[in-house]
């Protein structure tokens, strides 16, 4: 942990400062709600990043875990009158169980098969939520889901609650990255065969990543349900899964920070598009899908490693160049001095 703070000291400090200050820079309730939604998405994408970047798998059904988490907590609190905190704990456990079962089942799958299986799972969950009307309210959804009683449940306190969860998830994942587990994951990402021969239980690690990502998505879903107060099955489909995918891919699959930064970026792009559609009257249809699709295509074509790793490598190169130049200067300076001495 200490080592981690040393390594990430500056970046982590900036993150905490920005996160705390944001609701006061934009004191509008609307921007606070935007901040909350971005935080909720960030919890999901950090988990997805563990699956994609570290375990080298792909999940096109992340919104399904999100939805399972949301409905678990919503049903437990509204139908059975349990406390939202119990609901939130269940909203982590139930999607985790689903992820465990699905992960166990599809452990042998790779590439396209895995993409297809998770996509199909996403569809089944969305259809299941819509069809299981007595419990989930079907297509018309659920209303009056209680709020989380956290400092009065105002917009501002929700903002801090959610970003506190984001910070925990972030620290957990960064810590994981710099532990033995993280090194094992990176080995798997590079070459599964080499990792296996070094004694890493590849399928166990992959399954763990999948379960953790499902739990993260579930917690986020539970918070989403309590924050919104209403739920319907519509946001838990393919559109949202692709949005999560775009967030992870734009930031850089192999970087946890990339997932966070990608989420913030896409969050603001979405808001910008909403503003734009108010200004330009002729704008119809899903303009955001054009942008997300375009981003996915362009990133894979021109910057497959993603924004954050790219910026980091450019920065490191510049640092190295500077150091080299300084060394050359020092050397030549020495030479001049020597000449003067003779």
């Amino acid at each position: 942990m200490k080592q981690l703070l040393q390594k990430w000291g500056k970046g982590f400090g900036i993150y905490v400062a920005l996160m705390i200050v944001f609701p006061f820079v934009m004191p509008d309730e609307y921007y606070r709600s935007v901040g909350i939604i971005i935080g909720l998405h960030a919890i999901v994408t950090i988990g997805l990043c563990l699956v994609m970047g570290l375990a080298g798998q792909i999940s096109l059904g992340q919104a399904a875990f999100w939805g399972i988490g949301a409905y678990t907590s919503a049903v437990l609190t509204t139908k059975y009158g349990l406390s939202p905190f119990v609901g939130l704990i269940a909203s982590a456990i139930v999607p985790g169980l689903f992820a465990f079962i699905l992960g166990r089942a599809i452990a042998g799958l790779q590439g396209y098969y895995l993409a297809m299986a998770t996509l199909a799972f996403g569809y089944i969950v969305q259809i299941g939520i819509t069809e299981w009307e007595p419990v989930t309210g079907g297509a018309s959804g659920m209303i009056s889901i209680p709020q989380v009683p956290f400092f009065g449940g105002s917009e501002l306190s929700m903002y801090y609650l959610i970003w506190a969860v984001v910070t925990c998830v972030l620290l957990f994942s960064l810590n994981l990255l710099h532990s033995r587990v993280g090194r094992a994951f990176r080995a798997i990402h590079k070459s599964e065969i080499a990792a296996t021969s070094m004694g890493i239980d590849v399928s166990k690690f992959k399954l763990n990543a999948f379960v953790v990502s499902g739990m993260f998505a579930g917690i986020s879903g539970g918070l989403y349900a309590h924050y919104m107060g209403i739920l319907d099955p519509q946001p838990f489909g393919l559109h949202e899964s692709i949005k999560f995918l775009t967030m992870v891919v734009i930031g850089g699959m192999t970087s946890i920070w990339g997932a966070l930064i990608g989420t913030v970026l896409i969050g603001f792009i979405s808001e910008g598009l909403i503003l734009l559609s108010e200004v330009i009257p002729g704008l119809q249809g899903d303009v955001d899908t054009i942008v997300f699709g375009g981003i996915l295509v362009l990133i894979v074509m021109f910057m497959p490693e993603g924004l954050v790793p790219r910026i980091r490598s450019v920065y490191e190169k510049a640092q190295a160049k500077k150091a080299k130049e300084a060394a050359v200067k020092a050397q030549s300076g020495e030479r001049v001095e020597r000449k003067a001495a003779t």
Partner: protein
């Protein structure tokens, strides 16, 4: 009994459409080892462009022809400028790429045509046909005819012509094919053109039966791909059979279990299949290296 036959007849029609999509997937996959997840969008574009052109007062046949050509061109452009650019990408990158293309096409379609559903006139009459209590729309006959013709032509192309041999050569060993003077890039482009054209035809013939809108491609694409996996990726004949089976199972499920669960049934079949036998009912005809 009539009820059962009715469901089977309905299933055959939707199964036929899945068969075209599945064979489109496999045509591309065999040559370039790319799964084109934008395959469903070819169907959507076929239907939507035809509707749009008819809206410009073009005659039906001409509109359909132009739509097929346009979608074929889109397939070629996609291969030439996007897929070919990232030749060495990992399967995950390719999945992300083709999903991106599919999302992009869908977004543009919703931008141009809006989110409304459009109906296309049936090719011939609107009268349903009746065979011993089983009624089917005349359009269904057209669909099945189109499916069978497309499947036959593809079989003929792949098995009986030099061009088909060249395509096969590229899927078996691209390096050796190149040494024989066959350009894998060109063959891959041809595969995209074929999938684009067949997809467009499927999109046009299905449009009168169910309405067409900007988002029909997703489900059709996924179900076609499910059929391709069920039949064994890389095996066009197996995929076509699996597609018909999938259509019938789905239709029976919708009839006897719950119509709302119709789509879930297809996916449950897929997940079940992946668990029991990922190589598909008829096994992957593993051609060449660089597969999954």
């Amino acid at each position: 009994m009539t009820e059962l036959l009715q469901y089977v007849a309905n299933g055959l029609v939707s199964g036929g459409i899945y068969a075209i999509v599945a064979v489109g997937f496999i045509t591309i996959y065999n040559v370039s080892k790319v799964i084109n997840l934008a395959q469903g969008e070819f169907l959507m574009l076929g239907g939507m462009v035809t509707v749009a052109l008819i809206g410009m007062n073009l005659p039906y046949g001409l509109a359909a022809l132009l739509a097929i050509l346009a979608v074929t061109a889109i397939g070629i452009i996609m291969q030439k400028y996007v897929i070919d650019y990232v030749k060495k990408a990992s399967p995950i990158s390719l999945i992300i790429l083709t999903i991106g293309i599919s999302t992009l096409i869908r977004g543009i379609a919703s931008f141009i045509w809006g989110k409304d559903a459009f109906a296309l006139e049936p090719i011939t009459s609107n009268e349903p046909l009746s065979f011993g209590g089983v009624t089917i729309a005349t359009q269904s006959v057209w669909i099945l005819a189109a499916v069978l013709i497309i499947l036959f032509l593809l079989w003929y192309l792949m098995e009986k012509t030099i061009l088909g041999k060249k395509i096969n050569a590229c899927s078996v060993n691209p390096m050796a094919a190149r040494l024989m003077g066959i350009s894998p890039t060109k063959m891959s482009m041809l595969a995209f053109a074929i999938s684009g054209a067949t997809g467009a035809v499927a999109g046009i013939v299905i449009a009168p039966l169910s309405v067409t809108s900007y988002d029909i491609g997703v489900l059709l694409g996924i179900k076609g791909f499910s059929a391709a996996i069920l039949g064994g990726l890389g095996n066009p004949l197996g995929a076509a059979v699996a597609a018909f089976l999938l259509g019938i199972v789905e239709s029976l499920g919708a009839g006897y279990v719950s119509s709302g669960m119709k789509d879930a049934i297809a996916f449950l079949v897929l997940i079940g299949m992946l668990l029991v036998k990922p190589s598909g009912l008829f096994g992957e005809r593993s051609v060449g290296k660089g597969g999954l």
